[in-house]
């Protein structure tokens, strides 16, 4: 019995090492100016704050990711984006399963308070995220997403809540 108990303790102790590494990297990311990969980064500090007319967002279609920070909480993450019919969209997949919901908390936070800052090519844009749950426009947006990324996003996956889609419109 003692052997089994010791074996379990040894396994747990050894597992603690990668867990500690991940936790340390996650904590360190929170003090950074922006996100790196999956861990939330700190507020987007550097970069000129854009002021002026609504930009032509089509340039984002050539960018793999952008940085996005919510105002509440002051955390940032790296996300996919697409422009469709002069509007900018961000989204989160995996929202239909438990792991995804634990991993991706920003969509819930954005639905509560949509004020966001996007940093694209070193320029920061103040935006307001508004969730889109249904509508004919989803066909075109989903097509734009799948044309740009290896994504299986469809109108149905958005309407079913597996993908949470937000329009990043101007902040009023």
């Amino acid at each position: 019995m003692n052997v089994i108990k010791n074996a379990i303790i040894i396994v747990i102790c050894i597992l603690l090492i990668p867990v500690t590494a991940v936790a340390t990297a996650a904590v360190k990311a929170r003090f950074a100016d922006g996100p790196n990969r999956v861990f939330s980064g700190g507020p987007l500090v550097s970069g000129e704050l854009y002021a002026g007319a609504e930009p032509d967002w089509s340039f984002v279609n050539s960018l793999p990711t952008i940085e996005m920070q919510l105002l509440d909480p002051l955390l940032s993450r790296r996300i996919w984006t697409v422009e469709h019919q002069d509007k900018l969209y961000v989204w989160s997949g995996y929202m239909g399963n438990v792991v995804g919901r634990l991993w991706k908390r920003w969509p819930v936070q954005a639905e509560r308070d949509g004020r966001a800052v996007l940093r694209i090519d070193g320029v920061r844009y103040e935006r307001q995220l508004r969730r889109i749950r249904s509508g004919d426009s989803l066909d075109g947006i989903a097509a734009a997403i799948t044309a740009k990324y290896p994504s299986q996003t469809t109108r149905e996956s958005i309407e079913s809540g597996d993908v949470w889609l937000f329009e990043a419109g101007p902040r009023n």
Partner: protein, 42 residues
């Protein structure tokens, strides 16, 4: 077991220091974690 506990404690402290201070170590940890997370979420 006592020696083992000391070894684990030392390893944990070393892990924190390496990830926190060595340039690129945090990125490597994040990249590996991303791979596992992506698989788990599918």
């Amino acid at each position: 077991m006592k020696t083992f506990y000391w070894l684990i404690a030392f390893s944990l402290v070393l892990t924190v220091l390496v990830v926190a201070l060595v340039p690129g170590a945090d990125d490597t940890v994040e990249r590996i974690f991303q791979q596992y997370l992506g698989r788990a979420a599918r």
